[in-house]
């Protein structure tokens, strides 16, 4: 069933590149950008699993799901009003 894994990997790659392109658009607001980078790390985790690395996938899932998002949004909520730069 390696064709199935191949197709899943291709789909994940497309979605990851799309989310990464959203994440660096200059016009988007900051919460959406941070959300997109979270989406990239989430899909990277599934990609690691397809590459037969469940340890790495679990690390990325545990760290990328909650902790990174919280750090970014916390700092963002403290610097409200300063993101015009």
């Amino acid at each position: 069933m390696s064709e199935l894994l191949l197709a899943m990997s291709l789909l994940l790659s497309v979605v990851m590149v799309g989310a990464a392109l959203v994440a660096i658009q200059p016009g988007r607001s900051l919460p959406i950008i941070i959300l997109s980078s979270g989406l990239v790390s989430l899909l990277a985790s599934v990609q690691y699993l397809l590459l037969a690395a469940p340890d790495v996938a679990m690390t990325e899932a545990a760290i990328g799901s909650g902790l990174t998002t919280f750090l970014f949004f916390f700092v963002l909520s403290r610097v409200r009003g300063g993101d015009r730069g």
């Binding site: 545990a62 902790l67 750090l71 916390f74 403290r78």
Partner: protein, 232 residues
């Protein structure tokens, strides 16, 4: 813009390099020498079923010690950078309440998350996972508590004690390996046990538990230091 032109030039150069790398890459069909050694010797020598765990804890254990130290330094520097604005007393905040569902859900879910973290790092030598993943999951439990009640007083002294104790025990076990077994951080200071059960692989479960507690305490203290800073 001139600046953007330079950036595009740099990216073109990097892209060409990456394209050359990608075009010249041909995946191996056989394990190389190091990989074959790990694959064939880990189960008999160390008794661990998860070869990645065996590499992290035993074969490259010194790297892991350095890495935990790097995390400790990062946590300490965050504390130093943010120490000026630390909140002193329990100031009444104007945040909207978290809601009944979230506080009840956190009471239900925090023990589950802690239990999953302990499962992950105790079973690190049999299933995927281990100290780093388990530590991140423990820190997620702290994050859940923090979300349910941002003003909850945390016992940061307890976290500091857990972190220092587990780090100290990690080094002590490593030094014990020099005297009892083959070298620093050797896991054969305990009997290997029967392969595939939870009490096997010598000291790997103990070392990974200590790493998990230390990493969890470091991440939790990072989160707490950031969230207790009140300076608008």
């Amino acid at each position: 813009m001139v600046r953007h032109l330079f950036v595009l030039l740099l990216l073109t150069a990097l892209g060409t390099l990456f394209f050359a790398l990608q075009a010249g890459f041909s995946p191996d069909s056989e394990l190389n020498q190091v990989g074959r050694y790990y694959a064939s010797h880990t189960a008999q020598d160390l008794g661990a079923a998860n070869i990645v765990t065996a590499i992290i804890v035993t074969y490259r254990g010194l790297d892991t010690l350095g890495e935990v130290t790097v995390l400790f330094l990062a946590s300490t520097i965050i504390g130093m950078v943010l120490s000026k604005g630390m909140q002193k007393g329990g100031k009444v905040s104007d945040l909207p309440p978290a809601g009944e569902l979230l506080s009840t859900g956190s009471r239900l879910l925090v023990p589950l998350i802690l239990l999953l973290g302990c499962y992950v790092f105790i079973n690190g030598h049999l299933t995927p996972g281990g100290g780093f993943q388990g530590g991140a999951i423990l820190a997620s439990a702290a994050l859940m508590l923090l979300l349910a009640d941002p003003l909850r007083p945390f016992n940061s002294r307890f976290i500091a004690v857990v972190e220092s104790t587990s780090g100290l025990l990690y080094v002590v076990i490593g030094v014990l390996g020099i005297f009892v077994a083959g070298g620093f951080l050797d896991n054969r200071i305990l009997p290997l046990g029967s392969y595939g059960t939870i009490f096997s692989a010598g000291a790997i479960p103990i070392i990974y538990t200590l790493i998990g507690l230390k990493v969890g305490a470091e991440f939790s203290s990072m989160l707490l230091k950031l969230s207790k800073t009140e300076e608008r």
